[in-house]
Amino acid sequence: MTEIFQEKIRQAAARRIPLRLRGGGSKDFYGNVLRGEVLDTRGYAGIVSYEPTELVVTARCGTPLLQLEKILQENHQCLPFEPPHFGPDATVGGCVAAGLSGPRRTAAGALRDFVLGLKLVDGQGRALSFGGQVMKNVAGYDVSRLVAGSLGTLGLIAEVSLKLAPRPQAEATLRLEMPQARALETMNRWAGQPLPVSATVWHDGELTVRLSGSAAGVRAATATIGGYSVDGDFWSGIREQRHEFFGGAEPLWRLSLPSTAVPLEVEGRQLIEWGGALRWLKSGTAAATVREAVRRSKGQATLFRAADKAAGCFGPLEPVLMRLHRELKSAFDPAGIFNPGRMYPEL
């Protein structure tokens, strides 16, 4: 099957025909333009290897994310970065290419932290392997993590090895009433203490916190934190953006900030995750205004969902960084055929 990918890519490269690498299409909304002939990865599916005692799974790109998570759950394990699916058709390859992490990100780490290795088909149609299945590996540059989150612009991720974690023994979700500024301070103070906080959300005067760990640890922390108990299903609503906050026609901005940044003064509604480091904004405010407010707080603004993406989804890069991006892009994809323009017009 990788041979079929390789052949298609070689032909496209020879004729300079753009290819749109695509799994289930659940993240078609993400990024800038979708250009090129669709190269569907779903035919290359399945778990290549999974040994629970090694805490590693290797899966082909087209494997449905739901199927992978089900198998892990049967073995009391999970993907620690709790990736959003954004639809039932999400695939493992798309998940890694998008590089998005869910509510557990601050506590457990980002998607890229759990990528141990991958098999890539580059723009010359070469099947290449980087990293591996072991936790520690510093042989060669960390190409696997460079490719994670590159939106399919560097190559086709054919297989990926991910580090896993055991599912927590116990979880509890608690809610406290408080205004934004106090919630930001509280979340940061909690994060500086040895508490098993695995997710936080502040929205509309309510701070919701999830505790995950041993039964004894969660019980002790519940007493420390206080508040009242709510249903844990809340978190999948946040992760999948089914929560009512995400409704409505205004553009959805994903603002990444230092967790201690003061409340952002921008017109619109906000929902805060990751202890203050991720702030969702539903707002029709001009892109330049949003970006300027976020820049002043030393953050980054991504236009996550919008009908009009003329302002560019991702924040601008410094000229030196853009030059490095272009050099890397041409090292991996000399003919420039993979998802052109999806991340930046120059790539």
Binding site: L128, V134, K136, N137, V138, P166, A216, K298, E318, L324
Partner: protein, 485 residues
């Protein structure tokens, strides 16, 4: 004589005399790093104190096409900081300032010459610490940790340097300033931060690093478990993971290692055991009590012959002191030792340990083993005498066979020490020509003329071809059809 060097003249335009070393008596201390078998006198050593000086050194060298090799404390074990005979060794030793500790945001902003252990010392009053703790942590610097992606004994649970660095700033070889990552998560574009960490100083020179600090757990206790068989100890490691436990630390030492260590530090190890495991739990008092009980039950079932749980912090640190002193302890029982760093899937441990035992016989050299069991990272220590040329040669062959065995079982030639000059031949075994070519293309993206730490980490095709010819025994490669995915 050296003052006549054109580059020295150029550097003295903006650096004081004391910051430019070129007389042999001054440059001699820089001739090697922790891998002392490889030595090279640098043409010039530059000791900048400011970012502006670093920028100008790089610009000067780039315009004169002179190689530059960055260096931290020089504790690296793979020759990554081996100086260029025809270039500038860029010592970052004077970048020693901790610029900011923000307890609420849990970050420390430090210069690259700050020693690893200093970060945790300064964070301690806030109840915080910096997780990666390589054994050399009292001496090694954050800049060196970043360039090697250093680990330590707690990385199964808390990750490597990569997982604990939020951002960096520094310069490209052309002296252009770059900033990667930052306190805001998920910087836009490609993850150049991940690419630069562990790149062995070949892509950029780092001048400032933002580190993530973690809350210090309320409690930590360690179990010392004895086994009468090394493979049983290995199986016990898998059993702990299978029970859904991720210990804070999970280390193994075989009997030759514990005996060497015990003479040196009196850690209280069981010297009758064929191997000991150190299994640490940390967290709240309740969590630790619970996890220690679960780990003891697993170890008992796995055939532990004796178990001791640390009663207090002093005893816990004593149990760890032996593990952390393993390298110097071994240094006392042998004139020289050679430390390997392969990582393997845990399930292949027994097979690899048997292989190492066979190599001890084949090459008539002793090899105690210390092992980051939790993450599969092996540190076999080959004992030899460097004054005996044949022993040195046998040591190199022994090490090469072990590293190639690690690749054969699905592992890697280096888990945390880096490739440097030491393991460059084995890169030809772990990677295929196309993959090495892509590494070289990545390097060219940052450094088109190959001036930054040249000749390290990524071999040329010619070098691999040469090594391939050396490895052919009786017309056949050791593992001709090895699948390397």
């Amino acid at each position: 004589m050296g003052a006549a060097l054109p580059v020295v003249k150029e550097l003295l335009q903006f650096l004081p005399q004391r910051a430019v070393l070129h007389q042999e008596e001054d440059t001699r201390p820089y001739e090697c790093d922790g891998l002392t078998a490889y030595r090279q006198l640098p043409m010039v050593v530059a000791l900048p104190e400011t970012e502006e000086q670093v920028r100008r050194i790089l610009k000067t060298c780039a315009s004169m096409k002179i190689p530059v090799v960055p260096r931290g404390a020089g504790t690296g074990l793979s020759g990554g900081a081996l100086p260029p005979g025809d270039g500038v060794l860029l010592s970052m030793a004077k970048f020693m300032r901790v610029l900011r500790i923000d307890p609420l945001a849990r970050v420390a902003v430090v210069q690259p010459g700050v020693r690893n252990a200093v970060v945790s010392e300064l964070a301690a009053p806030h109840g915080l610490y910096y997780a990666p703790d390589p054994s050399s942590q009292i001496a090694c610097t954050i800049g060196g940790n970043v360039s090697e992606n250093s680990g330590g004994v707690h990385c199964l649970k808390y990750g490597l340097t990569l997982h604990n660095v939020l951002g960096m700033r520094g310069f490209t070889i052309d002296g252009e300033p770059i900033e990667l990552g930052g306190e805001a998560p998920d910087a836009p574009g490609y993850d150049l931060l991940a690419l630069a960490i562990g790149s062995e100083g070949m892509l950029m020179v780092v001048t400032e690093v933002t580190l993530k600090l973690l809350p210090k757990p309320h409690s930590a206790r360690v179990i010392m478990a004895s086994f009468d068989d090394v493979e049983k100890a290995g199986a016990a490691v898998a059993d702990i993971i299978a029970a859904g436990i991720v210990p804070a630390g999970l280390e193994m030492m075989d009997q030759p290692a514990t005996r060497a260590v015990e003479q040196f530090v009196s850690a209280g190890y069981d010297l009758e055991a064929a191997a000991i495991l150190l299994c640490e739990s940390d967290g709240s008092v309740e969590e630790v009590e619970d996890e220690i009980a679960r780990m003891k039950a697993v170890l008992e079932r796995a055939g532990a012959t004796r178990m001791t749980v640390s009663r207090d912090e002093a005893e816990r640190l004593r149990f760890w002191s032996g593990r952390k002193a393993a390298f110097p302890a071994v240094g006392r029982i042998s004139p020289d030792y050679y430390c390997m760093d392969g990582t393997i899937p845990r399930k292949r441990l027994g097979e690899v340990l048997r292989f190492i035992a066979a190599m001890e016989k084949k090459y008539a050299l002793r090899c105690p083993n210390v092992f980051h069991a939790g993450d599969g990272n092996l540190h076999p220590l080959i004992l030899f005498d460097a004054n005996d040329a044949d022993q040195l040669h046998r040591t190199e062959l022994f090490a090469a066979e072990v590293l190639e065995k690690c690749v054969e079982v699905g592992g890697t030639i280096t888990g945390e020490h880096g490739v440097g000059v030491e393991k460059i031949n084995q890169m030809c075994v772990q990677f295929r020509p196309d993959e090495l070519e892509l590494f070289r293309a990545v390097k060219r993206s940052f450094d088109p003329h190959g001036l930054l730490n040249p000749g390290k980490a990524v071999p040329t095709l010619a070098r691999c071809a040469e090594y391939g010819r050396m490895r052919v025994h009786g017309g056949q490669l050791p593992h001709p059809d090895l699948p390397r995915f």
